[in-house]
Symmetry: D2
Subunit: 406 residues, 4 copies
C-alpha cells in the first residue's frame, strides 16, 4: 500500500499487528462497550475498555503516537506519515484508539507536556498519562465568542505573586467528563494589551483545583460520547502555581501551532478509517439485502455511490499522507496549506461516504443498531472541530491568492 | 402568500391564529419541554404538553387535519392545501403539532379508522384519539426485510374462527413508547398465496392484548424522541376479534394508499416550516456574531448559503402546495408523481438548509443548546421515512419513461 | 396545467395553437435552418426563417410579448404569467421565438420604445420592429469594466447643442451582427458627477450613424449564434439628435428596471422549455439505445437523473410562474426577490438537465448532430447573462438579512 | 514537488526545461495559432506550429512519450509517472503537446505500431510519425452503436485471399481531418462468431486506400478543433494487405488494453495542467477586477471556489501519479481500478475548476477572448471520451463489490 511513501518496516509490521488486534479484540468489543456504558455510571470507563487497554499495553502497540523513542518518556518513534497509517486502522472503530493510549485530546496534551512542560510537570502528569492511568482535557473554545478566530478567546490568566489566577468559561473541553480526567491545559490571555498574537498563553490546571467547575456535558447531534464527554467548565478564580505556565507568557499560539499539525493528521486518517468501514458496510449490506427482486447493490444509484466513495477515499488518503510526508520533511509551517486542506477534505469525505452508507441501510442505518448513526453525527461534527471548514478554505484561498499580489 | 392558490378565508384566519399561538405558547415552551422530558420518566408526556394541549383545544385549533367537518367525529374541514399551510407553521417547532392533536402517526391512524373502521372501532378508538386522550401507532416496517418494497412484509395475520392471530416482528412503530399509546394498526399477510398486492391486510391491535411485546426504543442518530419513541414490537400469537380487520382481507395496500398522500403533504410542509426556522436562525446568528472583525453573515460563503436556502425553500413549498392542490382537485392517484416528488424534495431541502445553519452556528449548532442538532437528525431521517428517496426517484423516473415506451 | 394560476382561455388557446405550430413547422425546420446558415452568408437571415415568420404572422401568434392590446402599436395583451407559458413552448427550440417576432433583445427594445419613445421614435423604429422588418440591439455591457455592477459603465453620452455625442466601447450587443439590425439602445453616462444611480441614461442610436463601428462577433463557447450574433461595437464620436434620449437624463436605471422584470420571465421560461426538450431527448435515447444487454435508461444512474431532472424542472417552473404572477399583481418592485431567484434557478436547472442529457447521449450529445451541444453552451452562458448568478444571490441574501437588522 | 515519488533527475530536468519552453514559446503562440487557423485553410497545420515543432525537436524534448530508449525507434525512456509530470505541463495549453510530437492519438498509435507492427509497418508509418512528418488516427467508435460497450462495434474486417476487406462507419476518428494524416488504426470484427472478446481485431489502413471516405468533421460543443478535427469516416470495401492486421485475428481487445492505460495517464495529467491554468486565471482575474468597490477575489463565494479548486486539483494529481506509479511497478492490469478512477476524477475536476474560472471572468470567460471557453468544451467532452464516466464508475463498483461476494 502506497509503497512509494517512506514507511519503515517497523511501521508496516505494527500496522499488520494492529489490523489483527482490531479483528481479534476491538470490533467484537464494540457492542459490549456500548452496553456497559448504558448500564453503568455513564461517566466511568466500562470494564471492557480496561481489558482492551491491558491487552493493548501487552501487545506493545502503546503510545504509538509519541514520535520520541528515547529517554524516560518514550513512544514508538514513528514519523507523522507512519503513525498516520496506524490512525487509519484505529479510526475504523470509535473505540479503536484508547486501547493503545492513542485517543485525542490526550495525545496532543501528552505531546505538549513532553515538549513544553518542566520535569515536575512531566513526572506529575506525563508519566500517568503515558501509563494510561489518568486522562486529560484541553480548554480552548469559549461559548461567548466565535472560536474560529482564536484571538477572540477571553479567559484571563492573571499573574498574582507566585500564582496565576484563571477566570473564564470554556466549553467543548472533550474528555473532561471522564472521572479519570485529572489535568487540563487551558488557553487564555495573560496580557490583553500585548500584540494580538502575543496575548494568549497556555497553563496546566489540575481539575481538582478549587474553582474548577465542570458544569455540564454537551452532546453532539444527540450523542454525549460518555464516558469521554464534552464538558462546559467554569474556571472561577482558579489559582495555580506560576510554574504551570507552559513555555512562557504570550506563547500560547506557538504551542497551539506545534500541536495542531499532528492532530490534524490523526483526525484526518481516522476519518479515512471511518470511511473505509462505512464503505465496507455499504457493500456488505448491498450484497445481502434484496428488494424488488434484486440485490440492493444492483439497484439505482448504489453502484454509482460505491464508486464515488472509493474515489473520494483514495484521493483523501493520498492527500493526508502527502501532508504528513511534508510535515516530516519540510516541517509544519511549510505544510500549512496541506494541513488546512486535509481538515476540510477528510471531514467532508467522511460525511458523504457515511451518508450514502446510511441510505443503503435504510432506517436501520440511523438507529443504535448500526455504528453508522454515531459515525454520521461524528462526521458532521468533524466539519466544525478545529474551526469550521470555512476558516480553512479561507486560509487555502489566501495562500493561493498571495502568489498573485502585484 | 401564494394568493392564487384557492385557500378559504377560514383557513387563512386559522393560519394567523396558529402563528400567534406558536409565538405565545409553543416557542417559549420548547426548552421547558426538553427539561421536563429529561427530568421525569422519559416515556411519559411532560406536564407542559398537557398544558399546551389544553390551550390548543380551547383555541379551537384542534384536529385541524381531519378533512371531515360534519357528524360525530368531525375535524376542521380543510382541504389538503389549506391544512398544508398550517402544517408548515406547526412544523417550525418539534413540539408544534401535538398541542393541536395533529401529530403523526395519530393523524393518519385517526383518518384510517374514520374511513375504514366500524362504529364500534370509532367509539372505542377514534373518539379518545380525537379527544387527545390516548395515542396510537402504526406497525408496518419490519427489521427482517427491505421495507422499501412493502410486498416484502412478512408478519402473518391468520384467521382462526372469530379471531385473527397476529405473528411478526415490527420496528419503527413510532409513538408506541408513549405510555398513552393504546392502539396499533398492524399490516401483515392474511393470504401469502394471493396475488402479490392482495396478500396484505391491516388490523386494529390494542396494545394491551396478550402477546404484544414492546421490546425496546429505537433511536435516530442519537435521539430517542421520548416520550413519543420508535418501538420495536414483537407480535407473538396476538389474538384479536375478526371485526378488527379493516376494510377486508387483502386490502392493506388500498388503505396504505389512502393514508399515504395526505401524510406526505403533512411531512413535507413540516419540513418547510423546519427549514424556515433554520434559515431564520442562520440569519440571526450571522447578524449577531463576529469573527475576524466582520459579521459572520458577511463572511465567505454565508450569503451564498442564505440565498441558496431561500431559493430551495420557495421552490419546495410551491411544489408541495401544488401537489396538495392536485390531490384536492384530481385525486391522489393522478397526483402520484407529485406525491413522490415532494417526499424527496422536501426532506433533502430540509437537510441542506439545516446543514448550512449548523455550519454558521459552529459547534453550538450540534449541541443540545440549539434545536438545529435534533432538526438535523430529523432531516437525515426524513430521507428514509416512508421508503428511501431512491424508491421515489424510481417511481418518478418510471412515470416519465412510460411516455416513451414504443 | 397549473390551473390554479389565473390564465385566460385566450392564452390557453394560444398555447395549444403554438404547440401545434412548433410540431408542424419549427422542429422540422431546425436542421434546415442550421444548414442554410452554414451555407450562406452567416450574417443574413436564412430563407427558412423568412418562411417561418410569414407563417407566424399569418397564424396570429405575432408579437405575443407586447402586453398592450390597443392603439396603433398593439400586442396580444397577455399578462406576464400568460406570456410566460408561451415562452416555455417557444423555448423548446433555439429557433422558436423569431417566427413570432418574440426574440430577445427585440422584445425588450420594442417594449422600451413603446413605453419611453416619442411618436417619431415609435413611427421610425417601433413600427418596423413590430412588423418584423428590422431588428435591434441593446448596448449595455462593456469590456473594460465588471458589468455585474452597472454603475461601472463608462460610455459617455455628452450633450452638445441639439445633439448627444456617444463615446465608448460595448460588447455583447446581441443581434447587432444581423444585417437587418438597424437600431441600438445605448446606455451611458450623461452626468458622471451626478448621484451614483442618476449618472446613466439610455439613447437611441441608429446603426448607420457615422462613428458606429461593429467591430467583431463574439462567440459563446464556440457558437457565434449567426446570423443573430453578439457584437463588439465601438461608438466613436457618434452624434444623434437630442430627442433620441429616452425618458430623460439620468433615468437609465429606471428604464433598465422596467425592462428587466419581463425579460427575466422570458429567459427563465425559455430555459424551462429547453430543459423539457432535453429531458425528452434523454428519455427517448434511454429507451432506444442498448449497451451491455440493457436499455440505457435502465442503467446505473440514469433513472436517478431523469427523476432529478423532473423534480428540478417542476420546481423551477412553479417558481417562475409565481414570480410572473407577482409581477402581474403586486408589481416588479415587490417581486424583486422573485425576479432575482428565477434568474439563478432557471439557468442552473437548465445547465444540470442538459448536462445529464448529454451524458446519456454519449459523444453524439456534444456534436453538431444534437441540439444538446448548443443548448449546453447556451445554458452555461445563461448563468452569466444579466449579471452572474452571484450578483443575484447577493441580492436575495441581502433581502433576507434585512429582516434581521437590529 | 511530490519528491517521494521515484522521479529521475533526468525527468526532473526535462520538466524544468519544458516549463521554460512553455513560457518562452508556447503561451505566446496561442493567439497566433488561433488566428492562423481562422485565416487559412482550417485543415492545414498553421505555420506557427511548424515553427514550434522545429524548436521542440531542436530542444530535445521530442517523443518524450515513448518509453523505449534504445534501438532505431527510440523515445525518452521515461516511466509513466515521469512522463505524466510532463503531460501536466504540456496540458496547460491546448497547443502544448504537438510541438513535442506528443499529441493524442498519435502517441497511442505510435506505441501500438512500435509494439505490434512488423518491420515494414515500422519503417513505413512509425518512422515518419516519430519524425513528426505525418499524423495518424484511431477508428474505433461507431455512430450506430453504444460504444461504451466496445463489443458492440460492428465494422467488419473480412479476410479475402491476401487481403482484408474493411466495411463500416466510424466517427470520432480524431486527427483524421488534418491533411497530414496518412494512416488509421481501425478496429472491427474479423470473426463475428468467435467468443465475445475474441471477435475484434485492429488493422492498419492507409487513408489514401480506395474506399476510405472522410465524410465530415464533427464538432464538440461548437469547436471543430481544426486542423486536427474529429472525422466521420466511411470505410467502404476498403482492401488492405493481410499483413496490416496487428498482432493477429481476435486480439483487438488485447491491443486496446495495452494502449489504454498510458493514454489515460496522459489525458488525466493534461486535465490537471488545464485545471492549474484555469485556477491561475481565476486568481489573476480576481485580483485585477473590481465590482461594488471590492476586488472580485474578495467577493462572495470566490475564495471558497479557489480553495475548493486547489483541494480538488491536489487530490486528483496525487491520484493520477499514484496510478502511474502502480502501472510502472505492478502493471496495467493490477492498476485497473486506478486507471478507471483517474478517468472519472480528472475530467470532472477539470470541468468544475474551469466552470468556476468562467464564472469569475463573467461573459468574457465564454468568449473567444479567453482560453476558458474552449477549455470548458474540452472538459465537458473529457467526461465522455474513452467511454462515459458511468462505465468507469461501474467498473470501480464491481471491483469493490467483488470482495464481498459470499
Amino acid at each position: 500500500m502506497y509503497d512509494y511513501f517512506p514507511i519503515s518496516d517497523k511501521a508496516k509490521k505494527m500496522r499488520e499487528q494492529l489490523m489483527r488486534f482490531m479483528e481479534d479484540h476491538i470490533y467484537p468489543a464494540e457492542k459490549i462497550y456500548k452496553e456497559q456504558v448504558e448500564e453503568g455510571d455513564r461517566w466511568e470507563e466500562p470494564q471492557i475498555m480496561e481489558e482492551l487497554k491491558a491487552k493493548g499495553k501487552e501487545s506493545g502497540l502503546w503510545n504509538m503516537f509519541l514520535p520520541h523513542d528515547a529517554g524516560e518518556y518514550k513512544g514508538a518513534g514513528l514519523t507523522n506519515l507512519e503513525y498516520g497509517t496506524l490512525c487509519e486502522i484505529m479510526g475504523r472503530s470509535s473505540i479503536g484508539s484508547e486501547p493503545f493510549n492513542c485517543s485525542a485530546p490526550d495525545t496532543g496534551n501528552m505531546e505538549t507536556i513532553f515538549l513544553f512542560g518542566d520535569d515536575e510537570a512531566k513526572a506529575t502528569w506525563l508519566k500517568p498519562l503515558l501509563d494510561g492511568e489518568i486522562r486529560s482535557c484541553f480548554s480552548m473554545t469559549e461559548p461567548a465568542v466565535a472560536s474560529s478566530d482564536a484571538t477572540n478567546i477571553e479567559t484571563s490568566i492573571r499573574r498574582e505573586g507566585d500564582e496565576y489566577v484563571v477566570n473564564g468559561r470554556k466549553w467543548w473541553s472533550s474528555g473532561a467528563m471522564d472521572k479519570r480526567c485529572k489535568i487540563a491545559i487551558v488557553m487564555g490571555k495573560t496580557d490583553p494589551n500585548a500584540e494580538k498574537h502575543k496575548q494568549q498563553s497556555m497553563i496546566l490546571v489540575p481539575l481538582d483545583t478549587p474553582g474548577v467547575k465542570v458544569e455540564r456535558a454537551l452532546s453532539v447531534i444527540g450523542y454525549d460520547h460518555a464516558p469521554h464527554g464534552h464538558a462546559e467548565i467554569h474556571y472561577d478564580n482558579v489559582r495555580v502555581p506560576a510554574k504551570n505556565l507552559l513555555l512562557g507568557e504570550g506563547r500560547g499560539f506557538e504551542i497551539a501551532q506545534a500541536r495542531l499539525g499532528p492532530g490534524r493528521i490523526h483526525h484526518a486518517m481516522r476519518c479515512i478509517g471511518g470511511a473505509e468501514r462505512a464503505l465496507q458496510m455499504m457493500c456488505e449490506r448491498g450484497m445481502q439485502r434484496e428488494a424488488f427482486g434484486k440485490k440492493i447493490a444492483e439497484m439505482g444509484v448504489n453502484k454509482h455511490w460505491i464508486a464515488e466513495s472509493r474515489m473520494e477515499i483514495e484521493q483523501a488518503r493520498l492527500l493526508v499522507m502527502h501532508a504528513a510526508y511534508m510535515m516530516d520533511t519540510v516541517g509544519n509551517k511549510a505544510a500549512r496549506r496541506e494541513i488546512a486542506m486535509i481538515k476540510v477534505v477528510a471531514a467532508n469525505m467522511l460525511h458523504k461516504v457515511v451518508d450514502r452508507a446510511i441510505q443503503v441501510h435504510g432506517a436501520m442505518g440511523v438507529s443504535q443498531d448500526s455504528i453508522l448513526a454515531s459515525s454520521y453525527a461524528n462526521a458532521r461534527t468533524m466539519r466544525l472541530v478545529d474551526g469550521p471548514d470555512e476558516v480553512h478554505r479561507e486560509t487555502i484561498a489566501k495562500l493561493e491568492l498571495k502568489q498573485y499580489r502585484n
